[in-house]
């Protein structure tokens, strides 16, 4: 029993161990790159154990592939697959950090907090009840507030952390308030229990001959609870109109942290929403579907329209990240295993392309290049590798085939068409998605053009630390390769989707 429990928690335990080793050793050793190494090794172990939860690995038979720990923590394909994505994404950020983060005054804490933030996301992926989910969300949030303020001496970094903290605290209180109302109505906080409760409610209304949507009218407490949770988790995913913190935080935070927040961190919100809405609130789908679908369209449109006006690459990427949240939100109303596969896939490609794009910004910043549009003139000449990488990431974000971003968007949009052909109005989500993709191409192209077309004033070469170059190269190769070998990713995504849907009634 205990052994099984430990076996199931091995990925999380590896990260906790790594995080604590860094924190404890920090007081004694304060020089060199060892925190990054410790973080990387613990991430590698965690990834190995998570992989063992996905498929049989020789010698790791003691890692269970399904089951629950203490009835609150599930081990499933869905959880394991997402954990693996988070771990890989964090490992890329850790790889890129030495060098760039040298000017931070507290490097050991930085790596320790990165690990903690990842642990929180893993907890969310495995949660089986609202309280565990909330705990995970909070662990990640608190760690990322600190991460955003890593450059203590720089006012923008402090501003980023403060804004993030205040809006984050607000959103957390919304979630916990919504949860308390849920508990008051349903008497339970487990997803399974909540699902049962809502199924009963919907049935009751059906027996009265009324659509489930009326429930929101007659029982406002229950309506408020649902919307509070949606708004609170929407903050975390940067869903419009709860997105205001993102541009300031992404801009002010260190670039590697922005890379983590915009790449890996995006997974927090979507996984939490998937768990709550496609499991706990699944029976109520007809009730929340129009609202969530509307938010998806609003978010992608708002993010893309505002991104057009940005002359700062980090703000542009931040708004484009809001747009990505809108695309991800398509998963909820569509709700098929194919859509979830698309969501998982897009979480994956997003952490490669969005994370990668921010890493390129970090690399340029390391070389002393600013973040304004005119600073990017002629960079195609000064460092072709970085410029081509950024071009590929931006084209992938826009959804140009055969890059990874095209595939994940394709699966997302086509899942909406799939239910649309069956008669649902949700195919409008696909229409909104493609119109938005075209809008987004417009502003991505501006940056690409600036890098390659304008002539440069400084024909100086750019030198980079090996770590960040490797990390960008990994993202680049992965985003291209996934376009040619999408089968396994979609397959795993489908398995994850079926696992999640199987849990729901």
């Amino acid at each position: 029993m205990v052994m099984e429990m430990i076996g199931g928690l091995l990925p999380e335990l590896s990260l906790i161990a790594g995080s604590f080793v860094i924190l404890l050793a920090m007081a004694r050793i304060d020089e060199g790159r060892w925190p990054a190494t410790v973080a990387f090794v613990s991430l590698a172990f965690a990834s190995l154990f998570t992989l063992a939860q996905l498929t049989e690995l020789p010698g790791l038979g003691f890692v269970p592939q399904s089951g629950t720990v203490l009835d609150v923590y599930e081990i499933s394909v869905f959880a394991a697959l997402l954990k693996l994505l988070f771990l890989v994404g964090t490992a890329i950020v850790v790889l890129a950090s030495p060098g760039y983060m040298d000017r931070a005054s507290m490097q050991a804490e930085y790596y320790s907090m990165l690990l903690l933030a990842t642990i929180g996301m893993m907890i969310v992926a495995s949660s089986q009840d609202m309280l565990t989910l909330f705990l995970g969300v909070e662990v990640t949030s608190f760690a990322s507030y600190i991460l955003a303020g890593s450059f203590k001496s720089e006012p923008t970094s402090g501003e980023a952390a403060t804004k993030y903290f205040i809006t984050g605290a607000l959103s957390s209180s919304l979630v916990i308030f919504g949860m308390s109302l849920l508990y008051g109505s349903a008497g339970t906080l487990t997803f399974a229990g909540l699902a049962e409760f809502w199924a009963g409610q919907v049935e009751r209304y059906a027996s009265l001959g009324q659509p489930a949507l009326y429930l929101f009218m007659y029982e406002p407490i229950q309506a408020i609870s649902v919307f509070m949770v949606l708004a609170g988790l929407g903050f975390k995913l940067t869903v419009a109109p709860f997105h205001m913190w993102a541009p300031d935080t992404y801009t002010g935070a260190p670039d590697t942290v922005a890379s983590w927040l915009g790449g890996v961190g995006k997974g927090l919100g979507i996984v939490a929403l998937l768990k709550v809405f496609l499991w706990a609130l699944a029976p109520l789908e007809t009730g929340w579907e129009p609202f969530v679908a509307g938010l998806a369209i609003l978010t992608m449109t708002w993010g893309n329209l505002v991104a057009i006006r940005q002359d700062d690459i980090k703000r542009m990427l931040a708004y484009s990240s809001i747009a990505q949240a809108g695309y991800l939100l398509i998963v909820l109303p569509v709700g098929t295993s194919y859509a979830i596969a698309g969501g998982v896939f897009h979480t994956f490609t997003n952490l490669l392309m969005k994370g990668g794009a921010f890493l390129v910004v970090a690399a340029f910043a390391y070389a002393g290049i600013g973040t304004k549009l005119q600073d990017y003139e002629g960079l195609g000449r000064r460092n072709p590798f970085l410029a081509i990488s950024l071009t590929v990431f931006l084209l992938s974000l826009a959804g140009i085939p055969p890059l990874g971003g095209f595939w994940s968007k394709f699966v997302l949009f086509s899942s909406a068409v799939d239910v649309g052909v069956g008669g649902s109005w949700l195919w409008w989500l696909a229409v909104a998605g493609i119109v938005n993709s075209a809008i987004s191409l417009f502003y991505y192209v501006r940056w690409i053009r600036t890098m390659f077309v304008e002539t440069t004033m400084h024909p100086k070469e750019i030198e980079l630390p090996a770590g960040i170059t490797t990390a960008i190269a990994v993202c680049l190769v992965a985003i291209v390769a996934v376009g040619f070998a999408a089968t396994p990713v979609i397959d795993w995504g489908l398995q994850a989707g079926e696992a999640l849907l199987a849990a729901a009634p």
Partner: protein, 493 residues
Amino acid sequence: MTVPWLSIAIFTPLVGAVLTMLAGRRQIGRVVSLIASVVPLGIGAGVLARTPGIDDFVLKESIAWVSTDSLTITYTMALDGLSAPLFALTALLVAAAILFSWEETKRPLSFFALLLVLETSVLGVFAALDLFVFYVFWEFVLIPMFFLIAIWGGAHRRYAATKFFVYTFLASLVMLLGFMGMYFGLPDGVPATFNFLELQQYTAGFSVELQILLFVALLVGFAVKMPVVPVHTWLPWAHVEAPTAGSVLLAGVLLKMGAYGLIRFAIGAFPFAAVKLAPLLLVIGIVSILYAALVCLAQNDLKRMVAFSSISHMGVAMLGIATLNEIGFMGAIYMLIAHGLLSPLAFMMCGSIQHGWGTREIDKLGGIMQKTPTMGTFTMAAFIGSLGFPGFAGFIAEIAVLVGTYQAFGWIVIFPLLGVVLTAGYYIWAIQRALHGELTAEHADSAHEMPFYETAAVGVLTFFAIVYGVWPALLTEHINPFVEGLLSTVGVI
């Protein structure tokens, strides 16, 4: 194990592009790129050399690319009577474009490499029979073309390149929605597939509304690419601002992708919707012919005039498609090849005149024939060929479309006939003002003849434009079996 000739033809230019970039020097790079572009040309010519005509898919290849429970994509490539001539045309034009740009001085290696990348993607478009693979190639075409315009283009290149990219991207995405609809609209129990040859068997069984909806979605994507009025506004910018080699490929092959897609996929999948919407296609075709011809009359820039004349010619192709009869279709497809030879020729001559005389403004030119006779002669050939003069390929196409229009719509043929007159008008007027007349140009003294590599490139195109003008059977023996096959499905409805 059979040799995958088609994949070799498609991907050799891509390999050539990498080698060109690695070549380091222009003198080596341009030879490498020319060799890489000759390989698909040889394979394409080999297919066309078959007698008697291609009546089925040849060089077929099919392997599974993505196979999951929810998504099945196969890499299915083949050529038939519709795609083989376009395939060979693409290869010919890229080789000619490389030859024409032989002395390119601005970042020449990237330039040649991008032309080759473009070739790979366009060849892929014409060969792909899986809708997903088709879309991947189709969309990828935009990237090399965007850079060709944005880096080597004229004064307004930034605006032109962005407009081209975003405009056609949006249209293609609408088309992609149509493809998704075809995929997910398949009846239950049928294995889901993007393979067009399999899809085609079920698409005609869709509900009428869905058929028309999907046909319109595809039409949006293809009509923008062709382009036809009113979705043509990206074209003048892109064509005028692009470097000559870029305009050559834009006019020569990129526009053909639209008409090709319309014939192969939209009409092939939804013949019933095509019959229903034929009046719409007819109106689009006639408006394009007349509107673009009128705009041409008002142009002072030779290149802009040639660019707008493309819209007019694509209107003729659209008209031929709208007839839905054998001769009209044959004419439409013939127009793709004819325009694919003559329009690049005209663009090359605009480029040559720009090099030789320092301007393309008609009112600043004059006496080209007198001072630079070779340039004048080829320009003359390009222009009279484009206006549909007998002896050039354009004539065969236009006469076939007009006959088809008369058969299908009767007296309405007056409108395209008026277009023919207008076309003759603006071309002959341009010939009169620019080629003949007094030596009035500012730089007339310093004007010089075309260099040998430009002459070689335009010579090849002129040669083929005349060959296909006097010996149409060379093409029709391939086109006709395809048209018969396609119309038999329309006739069934």
